[in-house]
Structures are given as structure tokens and as C-alpha cells.
Amino acid sequence: MANNTKDFVVEQLKKQIDNFKSESEEKTFGQVIQVGDGIARVSGLSSAMMSEMLEFKTTSGSIFGVALNLDEDSVGAVLLGEIGDLKEGDEVVALKRILEVPVGENVTGRVLNPLGQPLDGKEEVKTKTFYPVEKIAPGVITRESVSQPVQTGIKAIDAMIPVGRGQRELIIGDRQTGKTAIAIDTIINQKGQNMKCIYVAIGQKESKVAGLVAKLEESGAMEYTTVIVAGASDPAPLLYFAPYAGTAMAEYFLDKGEDVLVVYDDLSKHAVAYREVSLLLRRPPGREAYPGDVFYLHSRLLERSCKLNPDFGGGSITSLPIIETQAGDVAAYIPTNVISITDGQIYLEPDLFYQGQRPAVNAGLSVSRVGSSAQIKAMKKVAGKMRLEAAQYRELAAFAQFGSDLDEDTRGKLERGKRLMEILKQDQYNPMDVAEQVSVYFSLIKGYMDNVPVDKISEFEAGLREYLVDTADKVLDKIRKTGQLGEEIEKELEKAINDYKDTLDYLQAEKSVE
């Protein structure tokens, strides 16, 4: 028997080697004229293609690069990785392949660099499929308008600024206002929502990324998430390719008809990296020294997010690009560009953040151009009223600071507004289910919270959620399954809320509100 297996192994190996056909292709080669700052100029390479991969042969092994400038008698290339001992006169071979990354099921749960190489200490990504990093976005015929929601699990966003599958929603704000937190919470909340996630970290500190990965692992989100890291210490070309590589991996799932969420954190650093590459390649600088095609840089990336119609698989790529502003200046070059490309923005304000309103979403300046078509019916029903109340409160709050003798109606609205603001607060890493969100908003707009003291609102809310999950799970299930908030469900919900309120001892007497 042992002899048999030995023969079998030998036989198989022979077969494998017999099947191997070595093909020596004719390739073009050239010589390095100049190297420095991660850029090389190469002579020869007469038939090099745009963004073709180049192999630089040095004495201590090969370095890879990409052709980005095709001139009359030389090629400008960026190096992907350290320069090492590359020197003038070294041989360069064009590999006849456009820059591509490994894609497939195997990339989920991994931490990779923009070239698909592992950064998590695990084995290489084993896959036979490669997708080009740059790809033309899906055309008009293949698309469909956004209709399904992405449940971010963040109350302020799901109610007021709904995001749909296939939408591009910008998260914009100063440093330290919780931009990444929103993106990470959204990824955590995608568990069981049939959504693959890709988080692209561009120019982030490695320590921050390590913390995020640990958090995602802890909450079980790495099962459906890929993290692509081009860290602050990586050369600029890698930062430049990172979001495109992430989108290429997303497109694999799109082509299979699945839904994908991609987070680009952040595109300001991406633009800076591209500026560096462009200036070194001696492309003419424009406003703020960015090259003339920064707009195209981001528009071609974000156009690849889409919702395909069922004839083309029905998949979607939702993207959440992040932009960091300097001192709240949303009118700078890159922020205005990206605002105009995306389908809406979530604006985070430092003032709100310091006041303790977290997430610090400014409901007035944030919009979602897709609107309520990306909400389930139940949410639509309660959120419309809420948005109105929030707007009224904002208007009145400024005005009410001057005097205390307000009429009853105004005072009622102010009190309601205070409770609304309190409800929009939410802890980090604590995303909330849609049905629970709907019930909380429902109890607010129906006035069930009017006699709860403002400082007890969060306690009330937490208690209500717990109570509903324990005793009225059927109602929540109905909302989840049907997506509706019919009269029958409303009645059941009202009853549950009233039952819950009977167990509380901190309610104000009904009249104190007046």
C-alpha cells in the first residue's frame, strides 16, 4: 500500500510537470536613466502601456513599478516598494500586464497591502483571479437607482441621512470628530446584513489601523471584512493605488451580484499622495499644487460605486469616502471636489463633539441626495416627522435663548427637541438594530418621552430597548420582516411602551411639562 501511494505521488508530480508548458514571450526592455524619490525614468520600453507593470532587475532581486508617464523616448515610472539598490543602467522589463490585484473569496478576513500581499502574518492570498486596478465604471444601461438601505446602525444617520446600497456618502469633518468611528460602526453593523466590507486605510498611522483591526476582530466583523493598508510610512505610489485596489476587490463581489461596502479613509491623504507622485513625475501643478487631474482622480474612483440592475447581477458597491478638513474649511479644493462627486455628505462638527453630542453629526448641513427611497417604510414613517421636529427645534433653540416667556406650543416643541437631541446621542461601537431604532423614534414622536426628564432619556431608551427585546420581540420581528409600521403594530408597540413606563419611577408629573 505504501508503495502504491509513493508511486501515485511520483506519477502526479510527473503529470504536473509534463503539463507545464514554458512559454517564452517576447518582451520589451529598457534601462534606468534616473532614480530617486520613488520615481524612475527608463529609456527604451518602446511598446510600454499606460499603468503597465515593470520589473526592475537589481543585483539583489526584482523591484516592481508602474509606468505612469509615456514620453517620446523615455518612460516615467513609480516604484512600488523600497528603492533598494536600484541604480542607473539597471535593466527594466515590461511585463505586458496592467497593474492588477488578486481578488476572490480568499481576501475576506485579511489585512493586505494595496498589491494584495499579506500584512497580517498569514499565508499569501491564494487565488487565480486577478482584477485590474483601474477599470472603467459601469455604464448607464447596467445601472439602477438606489432602493435598498444600508443599515449603519447609527441613529442619527439611519433616520435623518439615510444611505442606500450603491450610494456614495461622504463623511467630512475636522480631525478628531469621529469620522472613522462612524465608518467602523457601520462595518460592525453589517453582520448578517448580506454585505461584504472593505476598509481602505490611506496614510493612516499603523497603530490606529492595528487598533481598528483588533476592534473589528473582537466584534466578529472580520468574517466579512477586508482591510487594505497603505500606511503613513509606505511610499506615495502605494497610497495612490490603495483605493483603486480596494475597489477592484469590491468589483469581484459586485460581479457575483453581491453587495459591498467600501470605506476610503481618507481621500485627503490620497490626494496629497497623488500630488507627491505627480510633482515628482514633473506634471504641471495647479491650484494648491495639485495636478490638473485631481478631480478625475476621485471622480473615476467614486463612479465605480454603483447599483446594478437585476439583468446585470443586481450587485452594488456602496462607498463611504472620508475627507478631513482643516479648521472646518469645507470650501477648500479637495473637499469641494469630493462633495460635488458624492451623493451627499455627513458633516461632523467639532463644537457638537465637545458639547457631548456624539456622533457629532450636524443635521442641518448633512444631506443624502438619495433621500428616503433608501429607508424601510417603517423608518420613513417616523423619520419624516423627526426631521421636521429637529428643524423646528434648531430654529427655536437660537431664538429661545433671549427670553423665558414663551407660549405653550413653543415650549412643547423645545422640550421635544431637547429629548430628540438626547436620543441622537450614541456610544461608539454600539450600533443599533433598525426595528429598535424605529420603536425609539416612535415613542418620541408620539410624545411618550415628553414626561421623561431630559437627563434620564438615555437611561429610558436603554431600558426601553431591553424591555422590548425581552417582552415584545414579536413586534420587533414584525417590523424587521415586513418593514412596515401598520396600525396593528403601532398599537402593540404603544401598549409595550406604556407597560414599560409603568415600571419606571422617575417620570415627571404630566402637568410639569406645561
Partner: protein, 133 residues
């Protein structure tokens, strides 16, 4: 205005064109003087590089390099040269033969800026990657 090495090379080529050996010697002397005067003598290597390239282009000469692990015998050399001459009509091929033990076996042919790598080393590498897949 700064004169680039390529412009020097083009100028030299234009002046030399159609001249006899004695005249050419004169031209080269003057050219060297000019380079010294312009403090451009350090560029000589680049100028020569462009000069050979421009000259080859004008006269239809293609540089070709054949690398093998062992020195080829006359017969094989003639065969390779014949093959290279047949690639494109109207071009004269200048073949140089080199020996590099690192490629283990087979041969690598460079022709203009094209390369045909048929060395044993590359084929073994290809086999390795295809087996690992």
C-alpha cells in the same frame, strides 16, 4: 540656453554626415573643443549613447545581444545571427555574444529594445510559480 546631450548628438551626426575620414577627424576635434568651452565634457557619455542610437536609427542598424551560459560554437553562432537577420527586412543586425553562467542554460536574446528570455533559470522560476498555485 542649455544644450541637451541629445541635441549635441544630433548636431554631431548632421555635421559628420557624408564626410571623409580626414574631415571627420577635424570635426571631432572641434566638437571636443566646443564641449570643453561649454563645460559639458562630463556629458560625453550621454552624448555618445545618443549618438550611437541616432546613428543606428539613421543607418538601420539594430544592436543585438545574445547571452548564453556557455560560449557557443561557430555553427550555432552563425545560426543565431542568421535568425536575427531574418526578423525584420532592411535592418542590419550587429550581434554580440556574451556568456553569463547565472542563467544556467538556454539563451537570452536582446534585439533592439525587445527581449526573448528563454533561459533555464527563468523557466525553472515559471515552473515554481505554476506549481505553487
Amino acid at each position: 540656453m542649455k544644450v541637451t546631450p541629445k541635441q549635441y548628438a544630433q548636431a554631431l551626426l548632421d555635421v559628420v554626415a557624408g564626410k571623409g575620414e580626414v574631415e571627420v577627424l577635424e570635426v571631432v576635434k572641434d566638437f571636443a573643443k566646443l564641449l570643453k568651452k561649454n563645460n559639458q565634457a562630463a556629458q560625453l557619455e550621454k552624448i555618445l549613447y545618443y549618438f550611437t542610437r541616432l546613428h543606428d536609427k539613421q543607418t538601420g542598424i539594430v544592436q543585438s545581444k545574445v547571452i548564453t551560459a556557455k560560449a557557443l560554437d561557430e555553427e550555432l553562432m552563425a545560426e543565431v545571427t542568421n535568425y536575427l537577420n531574418g526578423i525584420e527586412k532592411g535592418e542590419k543586425v550587429e550581434v554580440s555574444f556574451n556568456v553569463n553562467k547565472k542563467i544556467l542554460g538556454g539563451l537570452v536574446v536582446k534585439y533592439g529594445d525587445r527581449i526573448l528570455d528563454n533561459s533555464l533559470k527563468t523557466r525553472l522560476n515559471q515552473l515554481k510559480t505554476s506549481l505553487l498555485k
